[in-house]
Symmetry: C2
């Protein structure tokens, strides 16, 4: 409403004479007053005419002049909302009755008759609140047009809202913020959602329907790209979507609370890894991705033209961790991408993944390293239980999993490879009655052993030590008392390998001898430079291990695929987004 019009009746009334004036003066004054009254009456008449004209115009247009027209619509850089910005998760009693500013996504919007719309507003981490937009009798601050516009806002539009905070009659069960609701007085569209949502949040937050990205033999596998997959509609009973639909729609895939929870767990693992190692005097370093020779085995390595040379993508920071030890560091770790050109389309494989690597000097025995790695893993598992409880519960509601069992302190399970094989032979399934101590285990053997260890020792995490010589790379040291086995170990979670490690050969002559034994020429490209580092200065005994971050996250949460644990999974079939 603009200013109240002047009341013509009042305006036309005579002005009473001022007290204490003489009659003559009064006469003179009366004349003056008369002239003044005339003027004012004329003024009032004109105002009344204007008013009548406006009312007539309003009536002519159906009463639809939009008095709220500045309170909604597309935002412009000159529009500012002065009210205090509040995060929904911080809303409290002190805000009731106050005007606040909120920036949020439209999670839902619907009309309730012609004069009211309900919107569900969502902030980061799924904080949602109900908004009630109702047209006021005066047509502002909220008009019927504004209500209609708000009720038609597309899902996943991003808006700026000014609203008063109120307490709803009863808690709003459908929203995370249930004790308060917003009554918007201004709503501006910052970024519109799409006409048709390719992947709705409800669908995005359900378990993956099919892993069409992973199995090229899957019968009706939808193509990795294209609209054929985009059959998801947003409704309470939204069907789940395929992995490729998820990955092809990164914005909506990532907006799902379950994916944000998985990302939280992942980053917490990284953090716990660093924290523990730094408390043990490890220092971080950065190995290169581009290397000059496919020195860790030519298979499964990406190569690329590099000016007038050929370059390769590192499969692990192995050599570089050792160079740091050679360079006088006692304990180092690194976190970064590693690459495998393996044409495997399984839930366990990716071509680029994140390695958590460590290497340390050995003083008396390589079990110093084994115990260190056991320590960091247990620190990670216990830390996740403490710091990510909510996230784990949320993920479990969508991807159910048994609790990840940990050994009691002092009862960590460390078997030798031979002991593990014996257990498999004696207590494992029929088909593993003849497994050998001299050959590496297959994935089914690993899983069977994991089940046995869980049953027998009540833990999903254990170590297998003293792997056979044939199963380990050339840089692994042999057991000085039994050269058929090595000072090397694997770590397992739920029967799946997450870490390989061991003691490395630190003496160049011994290294050359083992290279020859493995059929590798010690003078070959990349290898010679590596051996020469140990010739260039005395290097202390050392050992370490490399942990696959993606696998730790996926197996800990029992996710159906490592691809769900990764930010941007890379497989032979997928390089996008």
């Amino acid at each position: 409403m603009s200013e109240a019009p002047v009341d013509p009746a009042q305006a036309s009334g005579a002005v009473p004479p001022a007290d204490g004036e003489s009659p003559a003066q009064s006469k003179k004054g009366a004349k003056k007053a008369e002239a003044k009254a005339k003027k004012e009456a004329e003024k009032a008449r004109k105002a009344a005419e204007r008013e009548a004209a406006a009312a007539a115009q309003k009536a002519a247009s159906g009463g639809n002049e939009d008095l709220a027209k500045d309170n909604y619509g597309d935002i412009h850089h000159t529009i500012k909302v002065a009210a205090e910005k509040v995060q929904l998760k911080h809303l409290g009693e002190e805000h009731v009755g106050k005007t606040v500013k909120v920036r949020a996504w439209i999670q839902n919007a619907r009309m309730q008759g012609a004069k009211m719309a309900f919107v569900e507003l969502r902030e980061e981490r799924n904080w949602t609140i109900q908004g009630v937009v109702s047209a006021s009798a005066e047509g502002e601050p909220v008009s019927k047009q504004m209500v209609k516009w708000v009720g038609a806002l597309r899902l996943e539009s991003f808006v700026l809202v000014e609203a008063t905070v109120q307490k709803p009659l009863e808690p709003v069960k459908s929203c995370r913020v249930s004790d308060y609701e917003l009554h918007p007085t201004k709503v501006y569209l910052i970024a519109p959602g799409p006409e048709v949502l390719p992947l709705g949040l409800n669908a995005s937050n359900r378990a993956i329907a099919s892993f069409d990205d992973e199995d090229p033999q899957a019968p009706a596998a939808a193509p990795a790209e294209g609209v054929e997959n985009l059959s998801i509609t947003d409704s309470a009973a939204a069907p789940s979507a395929s992995l490729s639909t998820h990955l092809n729609n990164p914005a909506m895939h990532k907006r799902a609370p379950v994916q944000q929870a998985i990302a939280d767990v992942r980053m917490t693992v990284r953090k716990l890894f660093s924290e523990y190692l730094e408390s043990k005097d490890f220092v971080q370093f950065e190995p290169p991705c581009l290397i000059g020779a496919a020195s860790e085995g030519g298979a499964n390595v990406f190569s690329l033209p590099y000016f007038d040379k050929q370059a390769f993508l590192a499969q692990s920071p192995q050599f570089y961790k050792q160079f740091e030890i050679a360079g006088g560091r006692k304990r180092v770790y690194c976190i970064g991408p590693v690459f495998r050109a393996e044409n495997s389309n399984t839930p366990r494989h990716m071509t680029e993944f994140t390695g958590l690597d460590l290497e340390m000097e050995i003083e008396d025995h390589y079990h110093e390293v084994l115990h260190m790695i056991e320590g960091v893993m247990l620190y990670i598992f216990r830390g996740l239980q403490e710091r990510c409880k909510d996230q784990i519960d949320l993920i479990r509601a969508i991807y159910p999993s048994d609790e990840f069992l940990l050994p009691e302190p002092g009862k960590e399970v460390r078997l030798t490879f031979a002991e593990g094989q014996k257990l498999l032979r004696e207590e494992g399934p029929e088909e593993f009655r003849n497994v050998s101590d001299d050959e590496d285990m297959s994935t089914p053997q690993e899983k069977a052993l994991g089940a046995l260890v869980r049953k027998k020792f009540g833990t999903d995490f254990y170590v297998l030590d003293k792997f056979p010589e044939s199963a380990r790379p050339f840089y692994t040291i042999e057991d000085p008392e039994n050269p058929k086995v090595t000072n090397a170990y694997d770590f397992f979670m739920r029967g799946q390998e997450i870490l390989s490690g061991g003691q490395r050969i630190h003496l160049p002559d011994l290294l050359e001898a083992r290279l020859r034994k493995k059929g590798i020429d010690p003078k070959s490209q990349g290898i010679k430079d590596y051996v020469d580092v140990f010739r260039s200065a005395g290097v202390p005994p050392h050992g370490g291990g490399g942990i696959g971050l993606d696998r730790v996250v996926a197996w800990y949460l029992n996710l159906p695929s490592v691809h769900l644990a990764s930010y941007y999974p890379r497989t032979p079939k997928r390089l996008t987004p």
Copy 2:
């Protein structure tokens, strides 16, 4: 010395009769005693004979039987030293007179006559101590042979030592631990140093002599690989070595205290970056290195065969940071490798380097981002002054630099590009009197402006805002009030750019329009997928920046080359080690 021999004189003496015995008993007893004495005399005679024979044998062999032979030599896995392990930096009065265990490198070893050797033992971070090995008269625990062996130990051998801690007559000035010295009783060789040290520690710890790796036109540039460079001998007056000699000898390059100090500074920058951003609610994420399209400009991108496709190495995490914002995160950062296939051999360029990247939602104005980046940089600079003072002093002794000047709080320098150009025109060198507001700056212009800002405002760190439209990529938003410039900025250290950033276009139609203006087809590979993300859901306004970690370290310390700031620098000419 073995057991003391029985004294024959004493042994042949008669045993006095026991008190209280009768004469008859005494007689009987005397006989018994006589027999006993005879027996003992015989025993003593035989012992004396054996002793004489041993002495004769010793005399015959020149007195050289090595009684200390088990106290030195190559280590074997069965050898253990039981004494308490002490780190040299923790040696204190409580250790004096005690036996300790030390593991260290031979920093120096020399004979002092035939019976004494001095060794300098070094632990991580250049903690050194003097060891005095002197042969004992008895030939053990230290024999002359042992002294000779220790005195001949090669430099950079790694040894295990058992020693007693003593206070030297006067402080040992040549060692970092000057108040104590070690008197070894056991010395075992764990890993030998080389016959000839290709790069000694003294040389390694001096300033780089020449940057032969960097300038292909350098007249007598030594080849990047090969023994031609390895002309360094270890002596107190060691000459400095070329960059390629350093990089070709990673063990010795990295053992230099100056390189370890630079590595410390580098890792501290990383840590400070994370710390500050996490305190401001940023979350870390991991962008991929392998991408499906050279979407950020086809030049300078590495490409590689990827199964039946072509892959590229990411030049920045730009798109992925934006996808995280699109995915509902308010503030994200990442730290990881980025790649540029640029054939530039300068001290400023590498083909692989570490990016510190951040991206955040903008609420009201893109200067929220500018101030955030300014905040994190100032936190880094102030944090370095606090946490790395010793390292910076150490580095400055080798690579001198002026103090890095910071603005006083509240007096941060933020110029617009146009203001910077005006300053150059009005107060800069002659050749910059005609610089334009519409064209990007050259490196010499940047340096000249840096000098002007230092002189005028007393800071080596400042921001240049509102870059011209032509100087910024397609994803940068134009200033809504002046489309000739953009909402984008660069940050400078000592007149050199270390960060580019700005506000991004978050509306797909606007993005397509600017792509077309820049001559890029919005439907082209990689670009279409990128634009589609903004079509798939409403994305809030956002902005960010990318910082080159290598440059921050190099320019802060005023190093002659970023290659010294990197762990394993990669250039067009170097892919090793």
